[in-house]
Symmetry: C2
Subunit: 762 residues, 2 copies
């Protein structure tokens, strides 16, 4: 009782403070009175801002001219009512900014009139008729989209707050805004009270509208969540994720900040979802910074919001496309509107980092507010510096103890990048994939060894209404769809989310101190009951290779004989292999019956002599404007006699043509403890106009495992010239100081530290 | 005897004239003394020329610095000796230009020294050890490449002719140039004496070296070929083409000009090969124009060379990529070095067409001679005008009576093009495909409905040494690999070149007088013994469609019941179909056993209710710089009950992974005479960054055949709005003046001329 009294007392104090200091001072969310004055009166040139202003006027004016469209909700994503209501909230937010910047009242009138239509309709609505979501909305098929609406419309409301009569405000707040905020929170705790990007949208929606309405109850609900949500830890969302994580008692915006990110800003669902979640985080945070400086929201958790923005930017390829780990649609990039907003707010509020201006320049867009204006005008002043991707390790889990991501990057002589992403992160909740210790490889142009991403065509109605497709679960999430080891044709954790969520791989070591030999190493010991997996990836820069070389050492320890499959999802067309294989020419069958194998056609297979194998492929790249060029890549692997070498392709058991028909090469071995060592080289280019291939053949002769034991693994890479690189790894001692010695055959190696690369220029 | 004396007399007269007027006046082939003076002394700015000059110096200097490399010939294309000798002739030609332009003797010294090495080696060479060509070369695996060498090296020789001592010239001519010219002509009549692009290279090689050496015997041999070649008309080349066409008695360069082109400049093998053949045509022609103005080579056949350059430019998509008809590698475009040379020579010698300058600007390159200098300096003067593709029909055959190509082009509101290529040309000799009445469809970005091109990876050693692959014959040439009708699973002319060469389709009519309703129509009556085929393609521009709409009416007449297959090789990923189909989910089998069907996996099939069908697909486009966007397309077809609707994919019976795994939709019908009517609409776009689809659904409701008889076919297209377009075609009377009347059901149509399109805005 005592503590409750205390909370109530503090609450009343806060209410008084807030009402005194901040009420009737609109706009005060993303736009501020001062910011608007600054834009209106500045003499700085800001060409991109001007361009966006003109384009936005044109867009909003056209929409105003088309009339008011507030249809009764009916359709799934992609359908008319969904797309129209979505368009409405974007247009209303823009109209609010235009009203503030230009002072033209037609924008305020339009917003008011649209809101009044919504206020008439909203009280008549039951749940959306689709009923396909774990949390069905009213305006949209899912609460998530209703929350989107409220995040954007709170800004529009804020912009015209002073323009409206008190009666109009009362009407809107009573019939529309407050009921909507209550609906997505009180009436949908399983949507609202999670640690999840959906809930962040919910929290921000309730909180931003609370700030706009000066409704302290909503603000508190946004910051701290619902007290009693009645949720249990067996409930699942549409993606198969758990609603409630065991032991998780906090909710609301602060809890999102506490639990959504690792201490260094990594978002467990990955950058595609962080990009989406970033909007409510930043918009609500900026709204709080403007209204509640006492909360010091930007300093919270040692500046977690700023760190998260940089993690978003770093978890992308050289072109700024996000690594498509977990459930992600490919092609999403720095150019998304969410990142435009994040970059502009970060530039304004987090110390004017000039590297951010170069991203803004590539985006060619800014937000129509103070942050965008500042960004555009500083860009025009020539303050931009090139954005530098860098090698970096991100931890995962709220405390940074649930594995992570290791990103290795190195340039070739032309400044073109090779980038390896090692994934040893936590499962990633409902959007996680069973891809422990997987990697993907990128070059300056994009994917070389791909991650499939999700089986989903976002917002494309013809493909399951634009939602996740059945093949997302049955294929895209399964281990075999990733570049990692699959044992006995069974996915990691047998494909069970709950088991996968309970564990995680661990980083063994990460060392990028030598830019020519960058290494990341991680272990996963829970994915299979009887096997421990350990992968080490090296990015080697050496004059003998046109581009940095990837070396991969995948060690598995087991006392049982198992079937090991290590797929390499190369992007391109198979050119040649140095082993005999028999192709399935007259009929194709599936490679297996479950765990994603049922979605693979087995196209060809051969046996290894044990002398190591090479597979060369070719990729076409479109340079835009109709110009095409090609590249040559070679995978060189170690092998033992009778390793099975399989070429397969996705697309089986796909009755609705939902999957891409991508190729893979699978090295299959029956063994107990063993090592798969390999290297991937980007060695050549081709121009179909000159028709001249440059370096179409690999420079590598072989990759061999010289020694393997519980303690040590030694792998040797041999170049056609005879030069060798010998990589020695201490498997059980990651100390930088320990001394190691290993004998094999007539050879002896001694070194200090967890690994050593010995170069022999024969 | 009498006439032989006369020829000898004329020959001696010519020799005297030539020796008097033109000897010792080097350079005189592509470069001229006057042209060189002009470049050296001009005060015009020519930035592209300067850029090429600097880049060429850098390239040639680096090669000079690397030493002289004249290895004993050994390798196939892609291998070291092949690529090195190829590099040599390019570098030597460039060094010659540099010597003339800069006057720096190091270039002359280099050319001399390399030639002297060749002169030492050449007399020791037997045939190239590969022995894989119908006409094996000495320096390369085929005479063709030896001829390439001579065409380029004749220019280098010409450039340093005056620099060399008489003794050096004697050595080179006696041991290298003359023996090489004799080898590729006298000793290889089956290479030299054909009407074929290979022979054009041979003729130019012999003729240009003849001009450089002032060797009249070679010149005459180049212009008029070998008298007695001992060839018969059963011999085949490596591509399965006939060496000697029946009734063909002429040979040499004039014969190539007479028989390689239709009167309007179309090249029967298509633009990919014309681009390749263009170099010897133009280089030898310019050499003749400079040396033998009496031959009036540019005026020959009413200016056939100029016409051929424009046919090359017009037979390309909006981005300047050549239509990949017949044996062509995709991606070849205006940017090739051959087209750079053609555009520059055409600009200099054929009236300074300012549209050519805009192509030169896109190429960003010019030749390092007078033509390139003129082009670059006029470009710098701002004289360029945009190149305008246009709708045009090309006839085929030397007399223009062997069918042809019909190209329809129309723009959307944003100036983006839709282009239909209708192919009703002659077979195209050894490089021809069995694709009578096929079409392909392009938009501003490239292929929408594709032509496969050839099964070949040019110069990529791993794929059959870079030569044509077995699948080129068994798949790429077969009818089912094209967008045309296949009867009873048998290719046109049963896949026999000789039969196909003996006939050709005929243009029925071509009318582009109304830019909103452009039509091409053609018939093929010999491809099948018991069936006559007639296809009409309409490109319709209408405010109801975002992009011009393709309407396709394929009529077949037969008294027998046949199985008709009409494939549509859509580029992209199947999104949806409006009919039920069953996919082969657990195993795939081939669609048939021969004529290309053995290379198709049958992925799914369904039956039509007869109410017409729609198939929607999605294409990803790479805009360069990592940015991607998508487009939506829909094919709407007429159907009759029990039409089988098949989705298939190339890639079966492909033991070496030579084929692309492209998808197709096949409409299969069992009938006697019948009509397949359809429309292809480009209706929507998608941006994976905004994730917003615009117009993902087709605007069309149906395509129906209202009437069909021997005399008339009437097809109706219906929009979702109810608007209809009714197309009436007179099948047996192409006159523009005839009056027609047709009754069907309760309807009656009357019109004048071969076709009428009636629009009803319901």
């Amino acid at each position: 009782m005592k503590s409750n009294h205390k909370i109530l007392f503090l609450f009343i104090l806060q209410l008084i403070a807030v009402n005194t200091l901040f009420s009737q001072n609109h706009p005060n969310l993303i736009m501020t009175k001062e910011g608007v004055e600054n834009i209106r009166n500045s003499e700085d040139k800001a060409p991109i801002f001007e361009k966006v202003l003109e384009a936005t006027k044109e867009e909003v004016d056209a929409d105003i001219a088309s009339g008011i469209h507030v249809p009764i909700p009916k359709d799934m994503a992609g359908g008319y009512t969904h797309e129209r209501h979505k368009k409405n909230f974007f247009v209303l937010q823009k109209a609010g900014n235009l009203y503030q910047i230009t002072g033209d009242e037609k924008y305020a009138v339009f917003i008011r009139d649209v809101f009044l239509e919504y206020a008439k309709m909203y009280p008549t609505l039951g749940l959306h008729p689709t009923m396909k979501s774990y949390a069905t909305g009213k305006i949209f098929w899912q609460c998530l989209n209703d929350a989107n609406w409220l995040v954007y419309c709170s800004q529009a409301y804020d912009a015209i707050y002073d323009f409206l009569t008190e009666k109009e405000r009362e009407n809107l707040e009573k019939n529309l805004f407050r009921p909507m905020a209550d609906f997505i929170s009180l009436e949908n705790p399983k949507f609202y009270n999670r640690i999840h990007n959906h809930s962040t949208w919910g929290n921000a929606a309730v909180g931003m509208m609370g700030l706009a309405m000066n409704d302290e109850e909503l603000i508190q609900r946004a910051l701290y969540g619902l007290k009693d949500d009645g949720l249990d830890n067996t409930m699942l969302d549409n993606d198969g994720g758990f609603i409630k994580v065991e032991g998780q008692s906090k909710a609301g915006f602060f809890a999102q900040l506490d639990f959504s990110f690792s201490p260094d800003g990594h978002f467990t669902e990955g950058p595609y979802y962080l990009r989406y979640a970033m909007t409510p985080f930043l918009l609500f945070a900026r709204s709080l910074a403007n209204n509640r400086p006492d909360l010091k929201i930007y300093e919270y958790r040692d500046g977690i919001l700023e760190k998260s923005i940089y993690s978003l930017l770093y978890e992308s390829d050289a072109q700024g496309r996000f690594f498509p780990i977990n459930d992600a649609q490919k092609g999403m990039s720095w150019n998304s509107r969410e990142v435009v907003a994040a970059v502009d707010i970060a530039y304004l509020d987090f110390g004017n980092d000039p590297m951010l201006l170069s991203i803004a320049e590539k985006q060619g867009k800014v937000t129509l507010d103070e942050a965008g204006f500042k960004t555009a005008s500083d860009l025009a002043k020539g303050l931009a510096k090139p954005f530098q991707h860098k090698s970096i390790a991100y931890s995962d889990g709220a405390e940074g103890k649930h594995g992570g991501l290791g990103i290795l990057r190195a340039d070739n002589a032309d400044g073109e990048e090779i980038c390896v992403l090692a994934k040893y992160a936590a499962h990633g909740m409902g959007h996680g994939h069973f891809d422990k210790l997987s990697y993907s490889l990128y070059d300056e142009d994009g994917e070389v060894i791909q991650d499939y991403g999700s089986a989903r065509w976002v917002n494309i109605d013809q493909k399951g209404g634009g939602r996740y497709l059945p093949e997302n679960h049955s294929y895209a999430k399964q281990s075999i769809a990733h570049n990692t080891l699959v044992i006995n044709e069974t996915s990691h954790y047998e494909g069970e989310v709950k088991a996968a969520e309970a564990h995680h791989p661990d980083q063994y070591f990460f060392d990028v101190s030598n830019p020519n030999v960058q290494v990341v190493s991680a272990k996963e010991i829970y994915a299979y009951p009887d096997a421990k997996m350990h992968r080490t990836l090296v990015l080697l820069k050496d004059e003998n290779f046109r581009n940095p070389l990837l070396i991969d050492v995948f060690r598995v320890e087991s006392e049982k004989e198992n079937q090991y499959d290590l797929p390499t999802w190369f992007q391109g067309h198979l050119l040649s292999a140095n082993f005999d294989y028999a192709a399935q020419t007259e009929r194709l069958t599936t490679l297996g019956n479950g765990h994603g194998y049922q979605h693979l056609w087995e196209e060809a297979s051969g046996k290894s002599s044990g002398d190591g194998n090479q597979v060369t492929w070719f990729t076409h790249l479109n340079d835009g404007g109709g110009q095409v060029r090609g590249k040559f890549f070679t995978l060189t692997t170690s092998s033992i006699p009778n390793d099975e070498l399989i070429f397969a392709r996705a697309g089986a058991n796909d009755p609705n043509f939902n999957l891409r028909h991508d190729p893979t090469f699978i090295q299959r071995r029956k063994a107990k403890s063993t090592v798969f060592a390999s290297a991937v080289e980007s060695h050549g280019v081709y121009n179909p106009v000159s028709e001249i291939p440059l370096s179409p053949f690999s420079g590598l002769k072989s990759v061999e495992v010289l020694h393997d034991s519980k303690e040590y693994t030694v792998v040797q890479i041999t170049h056609q010239t005879g030069k060798t690189w010998t990589l020695a790894i201490a498997n059980q001692d990651a100390s930088a100081k320990s001394k190691h010695k290993v004998n094999f055959g007539k050879e002896k190696l001694e070194w200090t530290g967890v690994f050593e690369l010995i170069i022999d220029n024969k």
